[in-house]
């Protein structure tokens, strides 16, 4: 199958694609309240229109562009669409296809998927949670402020004050998720395609990193984590 049909097929296969976009009349109600449209060169209406028009070349350009990565997934668009579309969910599908075809590494914002996979993905399979205090490093999160620094430093003795059971294998906040549960999560990832997606992201990121004469390692992670051309809003 040629690449172009592949794109359309992949879109069509996703159950969410049809739910997200039935028929768009370009009214712009989604863009009007979209938090991303205000601060990025981003227009969900225009994206719906491109996908709806079905020009594969344009869709391919879209999948390779920064555009699809701007959405913040707040789903405000869903509330208002007079045609019952969900542009935010369409974005989810486009991102999925972009990742599966390796197009995501073509754009600055797309390449960031590597960092997210490395940070959030690893959290899930290591801690059982997407976010865990142990990896919200103040140096990567300066915006968390001095209070967070203080809490992290004193977490073991302070957390119990809030009823947390930090690193303990029992019910409560910040506990250690038991090994059996972690194992089950890992097996779920194995059978349901979660690991496959991680591998895909890593594989294409590795290819991209080699273009920069790098490996997909911590340096590459920090690169995609901080790269900002500054040309996303005008």
């Amino acid at each position: 199958m040629d690449k172009k049909n592949l794109i359309l097929k992949k879109l069509d296969e996703d159950v969410r694609f049809h739910e997200a976009l039935s028929a768009c009349m370009n009214c712009g109600i989604c863009t009007a309240i979209c938090p991303a449209a205000e601060f990025y060169k981003y227009d969900p209406r225009a994206i719906c229109n491109i996908v709806q028009m079905g020009n594969v070349d344009e869709i391919e350009d879209l999948l390779k562009s920064d555009t699809i990565w701007y959405c913040g997934q707040c789903m405000s668009c869903k509330t208002r669409c007079p045609r019952g579309n969900t542009p935010g969910m369409l974005i989810t599908v486009l991102r999925k296809v972009s990742q599966e075809l390796g197009y995501f590494t073509e754009s600055e914002k797309g390449r960031q998927q590597f960092a997210i996979e490395q940070i959030v993905g690893k959290n899930i399979v290591n801690f059982g949670y997407c976010v865990h205090p142990d990896i919200v490093e103040p140096f990567m999160h300066p915006e968390q402020g001095p209070v967070w620094k203080w809490f992290r430093k004193n977490i073991e003795s302070v957390a119990p004050r809030f009823g947390a059971v930090y690193h303990q294998e029992k019910a409560g906040a910040l506990r250690k998720v038991d090994d059996n549960s972690i194992d089950e999560i890992r097996r779920i990832f194995e059978v349901s395609g979660g690991n496959e997606l991680f591998d895909t992201i890593e594989k294409f990121s590795e290819q991209k990193a080699s273009e920069y004469h790098q490996n997909a390692d911590h340096d590459y992670l920090m690169k995609v984590y901080t790269d900002n051309s500054g040309e996303h809003s005008k």
């Binding site: 999925k96 990742q99 960092a115 997407c130 809030f162």
Partner: protein, 351 residues
């Protein structure tokens, strides 16, 4: 004059016997809130709520930042449901708004596409040999507190009233986007004027501010926060919201979403340090509370056990306004009563 179309709409919220699921963000940044909620449920309301030690994330943050396939998140959720089923519960209570949204969306999807539900059952069984029932009722903790707000009020020591003037406090309520925007009938009061926090505030004596960016997203934006290069988006959106509410001089912000609470709090600090801007007259910033913290304070819980000291915007001016008793010297003590060296002070933000 005020006629709101959804005013009389009430979602279905179970009466008792809840299975509780923790939130990644809330337990990390506001573990006191989760603890307080459970305490209110059992101590104040005498409800049965179960906190399972084997529970885990719904992977919603990963899903919305596109590293988790639909099948995976469905199956992960299915495991949570299987724990619930195993423990004999039918009412699922996720602490997180993202989880709430995800659960609603997935169960809705299963409802329309039974084949996908079957597929999920297969995957879960294949991975863990577990089986599950779809919950009868999914409600967010804020729904439950809303439902029993009058009952809680009976036990409350304080009201959302300025103790000096007797005026109701002016409060900004912020609803997490995934609470009602995606499925308006799954939130109390619909999508445009969700009543869930308004109901609490008004019952407990406060008044709500209606300001231009009331429905605007806090700006979390998942990948837009997770990656440093994108945080300008997140910051700008919070800033937009805060700038819009600032002229109304709110006494505090209350949010039902863990992310929103954290971002509205931390971005105030960031903007103060980056641009020198604070959104109140005195340079303290506007305190941001979780609804559990708000309820806990009114119930007379110790602010330092609710975890208010680990908000970056400090709450003492607010506590004084309401007249809540607290001991300043306990603020930076650890769980064992040891006085710790307090956190560093920001340059611009007054703490």
């Amino acid at each position: 004059m005020h006629k709101r179309y959804w005013n009389n709409y009430q979602k279905e919220i179970a009466e008792d016997h809840y299975f509780y699921a923790r939130s990644c963000i809330r337990q990390t940044f506001f573990s006191g809130s989760e603890t307080a909620f459970l305490k209110m449920m059992t101590d104040e309301l005498g409800k049965d709520i179960f906190d399972d030690s084997r529970q885990h994330t719904c992977t919603g943050i990963g899903y919305h930042s596109d590293i988790i396939p639909l099948e995976t998140i469905s199956t992960v959720i299915a495991r949570l449901f299987s724990l619930m089923t195993e423990m004999g519960y039918e009412n699922f209570v996720p602490s997180c708004i993202t989880s709430f949204g995800i659960l609603t969306e997935i169960t809705e999807l299963w409802h329309h596409r039974p084949d996908l539900l079957e597929k999920t059952r297969e995957l879960l069984y294949k991975a863990t040999k577990r089986e599950f029932n779809v919950p009868k009722n999914i409600a967010h903790p804020c729904d439950i507190i809303y439902k029993f707000r009058e009952d809680l009020k009976k036990n409350m020591k304080y009201q959302l009233v300025n103790k000096d003037t007797g005026e109701p406090l002016k409060i900004v309520e912020h609803i997490g986007c995934h609470y009602a925007k995606a499925f308006p009938d799954r939130g109390v009061g619909g999508a445009e004027f969700p009543h869930v926090l308004v109901g609490m505030i008004e019952s407990w004596g406060g008044s709500v501010i209606d300001y231009p960016e009331r429905r605007h997203c806090c700006g979390f934006g998942f990948r837009n926060y997770l990656v440093q290069a994108n945080r300008g988006y997140s910051l700008s959106n919070s800033n937009k919201k805060l700038e819009s509410m600032a002229p109304y001089e709110p006494d505090f912000i209350v949010a039902n979403c863990p992310g929103c609470t954290m971002f509205l709090d931390r971005w105030q600090y960031t903007v103060a340090e980056m641009e020198g801007i604070t959104y109140d007259k005195h340079g303290h910033g506007i305190p941001v509370l979780t609804y559990e913290e708000m309820a806990g304070l009114l119930l007379g819980y110790n602010p330092w056990e609710l975890g208010l000291q680990i908000h970056q915007i400090q709450c003492e001016p607010l506590l004084d306004k309401i007249g809540i008793a607290y001991s300043p010297e306990d603020k930076y003590k650890d769980a064992y009563g040891k006085q710790l060296f307090p956190p560093q002070k920001p340059n611009n933000l007054i703490v």
